[in-house]
Amino acid sequence: MDSDNKITYVDAPDGYSGSGFFATSIDKAIGLARMNSLWPLPFATSCCGIEFMATMAPHYDLARFGMERLSFSPRQSDLLMVMGTISKKMGPILQEVYVQMAEPRWVIAVGACAASGGLFDTYSVLQGIDRVIPVDVYVPGCPPRPEQIINGIIKIQELVHNESGRRRNSPEYKELLATYGIE
Protein backbone atom coordinates (compact mmCIF):
# COMPACT_ATOMS: atom_id res chain seq x y z
CA MET A 1 0.00 0.00 0.00
CA ASP A 2 2.66 2.46 1.06
CA SER A 3 5.03 1.68 -1.79
CA ASP A 4 2.25 2.06 -4.38
CA ASN A 5 1.36 5.53 -3.19
CA LYS A 6 4.86 6.89 -2.90
CA ILE A 7 5.00 10.55 -3.93
CA THR A 8 8.32 12.20 -4.72
CA TYR A 9 8.63 15.88 -3.97
CA VAL A 10 11.11 18.23 -5.59
CA ASP A 11 13.95 19.16 -3.26
CA ALA A 12 13.72 22.63 -1.78
CA PRO A 13 16.32 25.11 -3.05
CA ASP A 14 19.20 26.23 -0.85
CA GLY A 15 18.13 28.74 1.75
CA TYR A 16 17.74 29.57 5.38
CA SER A 17 15.00 28.03 7.40
CA GLY A 18 13.91 28.50 10.97
CA SER A 19 10.73 28.03 12.87
CA GLY A 20 7.94 29.39 10.71
CA PHE A 21 10.06 30.80 7.86
CA PHE A 22 12.13 29.81 4.87
CA ALA A 23 14.23 32.31 2.95
CA THR A 24 15.79 31.83 -0.50
CA SER A 25 16.45 33.99 -3.54
CA ILE A 26 13.53 34.67 -5.86
CA ASP A 27 15.53 33.39 -8.87
CA LYS A 28 15.78 29.97 -7.26
CA ALA A 29 12.12 29.80 -6.30
CA ILE A 30 10.98 30.91 -9.75
CA GLY A 31 13.46 28.58 -11.49
CA LEU A 32 12.13 25.67 -9.45
CA ALA A 33 8.53 26.50 -10.27
CA ARG A 34 9.21 27.03 -13.97
CA MET A 35 11.30 23.93 -14.56
CA ASN A 36 8.57 21.67 -13.25
CA SER A 37 5.67 23.27 -15.07
CA LEU A 38 6.86 23.86 -18.62
CA TRP A 39 4.12 24.07 -21.20
CA PRO A 40 5.48 22.78 -24.49
CA LEU A 41 4.21 23.88 -27.89
CA PRO A 42 4.77 20.98 -30.29
CA PHE A 43 5.72 22.07 -33.81
CA ALA A 44 5.80 18.62 -35.37
CA THR A 45 6.25 18.42 -39.12
CA SER A 46 7.47 14.89 -39.78
CA CYS A 47 8.78 11.63 -38.33
CA CYS A 48 10.34 13.20 -35.21
CA GLY A 49 6.79 14.25 -34.36
CA ILE A 50 5.82 10.57 -34.28
CA GLU A 51 8.64 9.92 -31.81
CA PHE A 52 7.32 12.84 -29.78
CA MET A 53 3.90 11.18 -29.68
CA ALA A 54 5.57 8.08 -28.26
CA THR A 55 7.34 10.32 -25.74
CA MET A 56 4.05 11.81 -24.61
CA ALA A 57 2.27 8.43 -24.47
CA PRO A 58 2.06 6.43 -21.21
CA HIS A 59 5.11 4.24 -21.88
CA TYR A 60 7.61 7.12 -21.74
CA ASP A 61 5.20 9.64 -20.23
CA LEU A 62 6.63 13.13 -20.51
CA ALA A 63 3.97 14.17 -17.98
CA ARG A 64 6.36 12.91 -15.29
CA PHE A 65 8.37 16.09 -15.89
CA GLY A 66 5.49 18.47 -15.25
CA MET A 67 4.49 18.63 -18.93
CA GLU A 68 1.02 17.24 -18.58
CA ARG A 69 -0.49 19.94 -20.71
CA LEU A 70 0.61 20.61 -24.26
CA SER A 71 -0.27 24.12 -25.27
CA PHE A 72 -1.34 24.66 -28.83
CA SER A 73 -1.41 28.40 -28.37
CA PRO A 74 2.01 30.07 -28.63
CA ARG A 75 0.90 32.81 -26.20
CA GLN A 76 0.56 30.36 -23.34
CA SER A 77 3.55 28.12 -23.91
CA ASP A 78 7.11 28.29 -22.59
CA LEU A 79 8.90 25.71 -24.71
CA LEU A 80 8.82 25.51 -28.50
CA MET A 81 9.57 21.95 -29.58
CA VAL A 82 10.48 21.88 -33.27
CA MET A 83 10.38 18.31 -34.52
CA GLY A 84 10.92 17.66 -38.18
CA THR A 85 12.00 19.14 -41.49
CA ILE A 86 11.37 22.86 -41.84
CA SER A 87 11.23 24.02 -45.44
CA LYS A 88 12.42 27.49 -46.39
CA LYS A 89 8.83 28.46 -47.06
CA MET A 90 7.89 27.48 -43.51
CA GLY A 91 10.82 29.36 -41.92
CA PRO A 92 8.99 32.72 -41.57
CA ILE A 93 5.95 30.95 -40.09
CA LEU A 94 8.13 29.24 -37.49
CA GLN A 95 9.69 32.59 -36.63
CA GLU A 96 6.23 34.12 -36.30
CA VAL A 97 5.18 31.37 -33.89
CA TYR A 98 8.34 32.05 -31.86
CA VAL A 99 7.65 35.80 -31.80
CA GLN A 100 4.11 35.14 -30.59
CA MET A 101 5.38 33.26 -27.54
CA ALA A 102 5.68 35.31 -24.37
CA GLU A 103 9.02 35.62 -22.53
CA PRO A 104 10.58 33.61 -21.05
CA ARG A 105 10.65 31.12 -23.92
CA TRP A 106 12.89 28.22 -24.76
CA VAL A 107 13.42 26.26 -27.97
CA ILE A 108 14.42 22.66 -28.47
CA ALA A 109 15.35 21.39 -31.93
CA VAL A 110 14.54 17.69 -32.12
CA GLY A 111 16.16 15.58 -34.82
CA ALA A 112 18.75 16.07 -37.52
CA CYS A 113 16.44 18.06 -39.81
CA ALA A 114 15.48 20.69 -37.24
CA ALA A 115 19.09 20.93 -36.08
CA SER A 116 20.87 21.08 -39.46
CA GLY A 117 18.56 20.25 -42.35
CA GLY A 118 19.53 16.60 -41.96
CA LEU A 119 19.74 14.60 -45.14
CA PHE A 120 17.68 17.22 -47.00
CA ASP A 121 20.66 19.18 -48.22
CA THR A 122 18.68 20.88 -50.94
CA TYR A 123 17.32 24.19 -52.22
CA SER A 124 13.94 23.96 -50.51
CA VAL A 125 14.90 22.97 -46.94
CA LEU A 126 16.04 25.29 -44.17
CA GLN A 127 19.50 24.12 -43.09
CA GLY A 128 18.67 24.13 -39.37
CA ILE A 129 16.07 26.19 -37.51
CA ASP A 130 18.83 28.24 -35.86
CA ARG A 131 18.83 30.23 -39.12
CA VAL A 132 15.51 31.79 -38.13
CA ILE A 133 15.20 31.45 -34.32
CA PRO A 134 17.65 30.96 -31.42
CA VAL A 135 17.83 27.36 -30.16
CA ASP A 136 18.60 26.29 -26.57
CA VAL A 137 19.01 22.52 -26.92
CA TYR A 138 19.64 20.31 -29.95
CA VAL A 139 18.61 16.65 -29.86
CA PRO A 140 20.49 14.63 -32.49
CA GLY A 141 19.08 11.55 -34.18
CA CYS A 142 17.11 10.61 -37.25
CA PRO A 143 14.71 10.33 -35.59
CA PRO A 144 15.88 10.41 -31.96
CA ARG A 145 14.44 7.79 -29.62
CA PRO A 146 12.05 8.98 -26.89
CA GLU A 147 14.85 8.56 -24.34
CA GLN A 148 16.90 11.10 -26.27
CA ILE A 149 14.00 13.55 -26.42
CA ILE A 150 13.54 13.13 -22.65
CA ASN A 151 17.26 13.79 -22.21
CA GLY A 152 16.84 17.00 -24.21
CA ILE A 153 13.90 17.98 -22.00
CA ILE A 154 16.01 17.39 -18.87
CA LYS A 155 18.71 19.62 -20.35
CA ILE A 156 16.07 22.31 -20.97
CA GLN A 157 14.88 21.93 -17.38
CA GLU A 158 18.44 22.49 -16.16
CA LEU A 159 18.62 25.70 -18.22
CA VAL A 160 15.25 26.86 -16.92
CA HIS A 161 16.18 26.02 -13.35
CA ASN A 162 19.44 27.95 -13.41
CA GLU A 163 18.41 30.91 -15.54
CA SER A 164 18.93 34.29 -13.93
CA GLY A 165 15.81 36.38 -13.59
CA ARG A 166 17.53 39.23 -15.39
CA ARG A 167 18.78 37.28 -18.38
CA ARG A 168 15.90 38.23 -20.68
CA ASN A 169 16.54 41.93 -20.02
CA SER A 170 20.26 41.73 -20.66
CA PRO A 171 21.84 43.51 -23.65
CA GLU A 172 23.43 40.22 -24.75
CA TYR A 173 20.00 38.62 -25.04
CA LYS A 174 18.57 41.59 -26.95
CA GLU A 175 21.59 41.47 -29.24
CA LEU A 176 21.01 37.75 -29.85
CA LEU A 177 17.40 38.37 -30.84
CA ALA A 178 18.44 41.29 -33.01
CA THR A 179 20.72 38.98 -35.04
CA TYR A 180 17.55 37.08 -35.97
CA GLY A 181 15.65 40.28 -36.69
CA ILE A 182 13.31 39.72 -33.72
CA GLU A 183 12.36 42.73 -31.56
Binding site: K88, K89, S116, G117, D121, T122, Y123, S124, Q127
Partner: protein
Protein backbone atom coordinates in the same frame (compact mmCIF):
# COMPACT_ATOMS: atom_id res chain seq x y z
CA UNK B 1 1.37 -1.77 -66.53
CA UNK B 2 -1.84 -0.61 -68.10
CA UNK B 3 -4.17 -2.55 -70.38
CA UNK B 4 -3.77 -1.61 -74.04
CA UNK B 5 -6.92 -1.34 -76.09
CA UNK B 6 -5.32 -1.75 -79.53
CA UNK B 7 -8.46 -0.76 -81.41
CA UNK B 8 -8.65 2.59 -79.62
CA UNK B 9 -4.89 3.15 -79.95
CA UNK B 10 -5.06 2.65 -83.72
CA UNK B 11 -8.10 4.89 -83.95
CA UNK B 12 -6.36 7.60 -81.91
CA UNK B 13 -3.28 7.52 -84.17
CA UNK B 14 -5.41 7.59 -87.28
CA UNK B 15 -7.60 10.48 -86.13
CA UNK B 16 -4.60 12.53 -84.98
CA UNK B 17 -2.80 11.96 -88.30
CA UNK B 18 -5.89 12.98 -90.25
CA UNK B 19 -6.54 16.06 -88.15
CA UNK B 20 -3.00 17.37 -87.47
CA UNK B 21 -0.83 15.67 -90.14
CA UNK B 22 2.78 16.87 -90.00
CA UNK B 23 2.31 18.56 -86.63
CA UNK B 24 2.48 15.11 -85.02
CA UNK B 25 6.27 14.70 -84.97
CA UNK B 26 6.47 11.16 -83.61
CA UNK B 27 4.10 8.37 -82.72
CA UNK B 28 5.46 5.36 -80.86
CA UNK B 29 4.42 2.65 -78.45
CA UNK B 30 6.39 2.74 -75.22
CA UNK B 31 5.90 -0.20 -72.88
CA UNK B 32 2.39 0.43 -71.70
CA UNK B 33 0.95 3.35 -73.62
CA UNK B 34 1.30 5.24 -76.89
CA UNK B 35 3.38 8.41 -76.91
CA UNK B 36 2.76 11.27 -79.32
CA UNK B 37 5.35 14.01 -79.70
CA UNK B 38 3.70 17.07 -81.13
CA UNK B 39 4.51 20.66 -82.07
CA UNK B 40 3.85 22.99 -79.16
CA UNK B 41 1.68 25.39 -81.17
CA UNK B 42 -1.13 22.85 -81.56
CA UNK B 43 -1.19 21.52 -78.00
CA UNK B 44 -4.36 23.33 -76.87
CA UNK B 45 -6.21 22.43 -80.04
CA UNK B 46 -5.05 18.80 -79.81
CA UNK B 47 -6.21 18.40 -76.22
CA UNK B 48 -9.57 19.92 -77.13
CA UNK B 49 -9.85 17.56 -80.13
CA UNK B 50 -9.12 14.47 -78.03
CA UNK B 51 -11.54 15.68 -75.36
CA UNK B 52 -14.42 16.35 -77.71
CA UNK B 53 -14.06 13.31 -80.00
CA UNK B 54 -17.16 11.17 -79.70
CA UNK B 55 -15.41 7.80 -79.59
CA UNK B 56 -12.00 8.63 -78.06
CA UNK B 57 -13.20 10.80 -75.15
CA UNK B 58 -9.81 11.57 -73.56
CA UNK B 59 -11.57 13.61 -70.92
CA UNK B 60 -9.30 13.10 -67.90
CA UNK B 61 -5.91 14.77 -67.41
CA UNK B 62 -4.01 12.35 -65.17
CA UNK B 63 -0.95 14.52 -64.86
CA UNK B 64 1.06 17.26 -66.49
CA UNK B 65 4.70 17.91 -65.79
CA UNK B 66 7.70 19.81 -67.04
CA UNK B 67 11.02 18.24 -67.98
CA UNK B 68 14.54 19.39 -68.80
CA UNK B 69 16.96 17.43 -71.00
CA UNK B 70 20.01 19.75 -71.07
CA UNK B 71 21.75 17.82 -73.88
CA UNK B 72 18.82 17.98 -76.27
CA UNK B 73 18.52 20.77 -78.84
CA UNK B 74 15.00 21.35 -77.54
CA UNK B 75 15.75 20.96 -73.83
CA UNK B 76 12.47 21.99 -72.19
CA UNK B 77 9.31 19.97 -72.47
CA UNK B 78 5.86 19.41 -71.09
CA UNK B 79 4.30 15.96 -70.83
CA UNK B 80 0.57 15.33 -70.59
CA UNK B 81 -0.97 12.04 -69.52
CA UNK B 82 -4.54 11.62 -70.71
CA UNK B 83 -7.01 8.93 -69.76
CA UNK B 84 -10.08 7.95 -71.70
CA UNK B 85 -12.24 6.74 -68.84
CA UNK B 86 -14.83 5.18 -71.13
CA UNK B 87 -12.33 3.16 -73.18
CA UNK B 88 -9.88 2.69 -70.30
CA UNK B 89 -7.03 3.78 -72.53
CA UNK B 90 -4.20 6.11 -71.52
CA UNK B 91 -1.90 8.14 -73.78
CA UNK B 92 1.06 10.45 -73.35
CA UNK B 93 1.50 13.70 -75.24
CA UNK B 94 4.95 15.29 -75.30
CA UNK B 95 5.94 18.68 -76.57
CA UNK B 96 9.37 20.31 -76.54
CA UNK B 97 10.82 23.77 -76.91
CA UNK B 98 13.98 25.81 -76.40
CA UNK B 99 14.99 28.21 -73.62
CA UNK B 100 14.68 31.19 -75.98
CA UNK B 101 11.13 30.24 -76.92
CA UNK B 102 9.90 28.78 -73.64
CA UNK B 103 6.23 29.76 -73.95
CA UNK B 104 3.84 26.83 -74.36
CA UNK B 105 0.05 27.23 -74.77
CA UNK B 106 -1.87 26.58 -71.57
CA UNK B 107 -4.21 23.59 -71.24
CA UNK B 108 -6.41 25.35 -68.69
CA UNK B 109 -9.07 26.11 -71.28
CA UNK B 110 -9.66 22.35 -71.70
CA UNK B 111 -8.80 21.02 -68.24
CA UNK B 112 -9.33 23.16 -65.14
CA UNK B 113 -7.04 20.69 -63.32
CA UNK B 114 -4.14 21.91 -65.46
CA UNK B 115 -4.10 25.19 -63.53
CA UNK B 116 -2.05 24.06 -60.52
CA UNK B 117 0.00 21.53 -62.53
CA UNK B 118 1.10 24.27 -64.93
CA UNK B 119 1.94 26.51 -62.00
CA UNK B 120 4.12 23.70 -60.66
CA UNK B 121 5.87 23.27 -64.03
CA UNK B 122 6.44 27.03 -64.10
CA UNK B 123 7.69 27.00 -60.52
CA UNK B 124 10.33 24.34 -61.12
CA UNK B 125 11.27 24.76 -64.80
CA UNK B 126 10.18 28.30 -65.68
CA UNK B 127 7.96 27.16 -68.53
CA UNK B 128 5.65 30.03 -69.43
CA UNK B 129 2.14 28.84 -70.20
CA UNK B 130 0.45 31.39 -72.45
CA UNK B 131 -3.19 31.88 -71.56
CA UNK B 132 -2.82 30.65 -67.97
CA UNK B 133 -5.07 32.75 -65.66
CA UNK B 134 -2.69 32.93 -62.68
CA UNK B 135 0.85 31.89 -63.53
CA UNK B 136 2.82 32.32 -60.29
CA UNK B 137 4.86 30.07 -58.00
CA UNK B 138 2.88 27.40 -56.18
CA UNK B 139 5.29 25.42 -53.97
CA UNK B 140 8.53 27.35 -53.56
CA UNK B 141 9.03 30.58 -51.64
CA UNK B 142 7.59 33.50 -53.61
CA UNK B 143 10.84 35.48 -53.67
CA UNK B 144 12.89 32.64 -55.21
CA UNK B 145 14.65 34.05 -58.27
CA UNK B 146 15.51 30.86 -60.13
CA UNK B 147 13.90 27.63 -61.32
CA UNK B 148 15.40 24.91 -59.13
CA UNK B 149 14.70 21.76 -61.16
CA UNK B 150 16.63 22.99 -64.19
CA UNK B 151 19.72 20.84 -64.53
CA UNK B 152 22.12 23.74 -64.13
CA UNK B 153 22.27 24.09 -60.33
CA UNK B 154 24.31 22.12 -57.79
CA UNK B 155 22.29 19.51 -55.94
CA UNK B 156 23.44 20.60 -52.48
CA UNK B 157 22.42 23.79 -50.70
CA UNK B 158 25.23 26.32 -50.92
CA UNK B 159 24.37 27.92 -47.57
CA UNK B 160 25.39 24.87 -45.55
CA UNK B 161 28.64 25.24 -43.61
CA UNK B 162 28.94 21.96 -41.73
CA UNK B 163 29.71 19.75 -44.71
CA UNK B 164 33.45 19.59 -45.05
CA UNK B 165 34.78 18.01 -48.21
CA UNK B 166 37.19 15.78 -46.29
CA UNK B 167 34.26 13.98 -44.64
CA UNK B 168 32.69 13.24 -48.00
CA UNK B 169 35.75 11.91 -49.80
CA UNK B 170 36.20 14.77 -52.23
Amino acid sequence: MFIINQEIVDLTSEKLRNRFGEDILADEMQMDMPVYTVKKEIIGELLRFLYDDETLKYCFLTTLCGIHYPESNQPFGVIYHLHSLENNQRIRIKTFTTLEDIAIPSATAVFAAANWMEREAYDFYGILFTGHPNLKRILNVEDMDYFPMRKEYPLEDGTREDKHDEFFGR
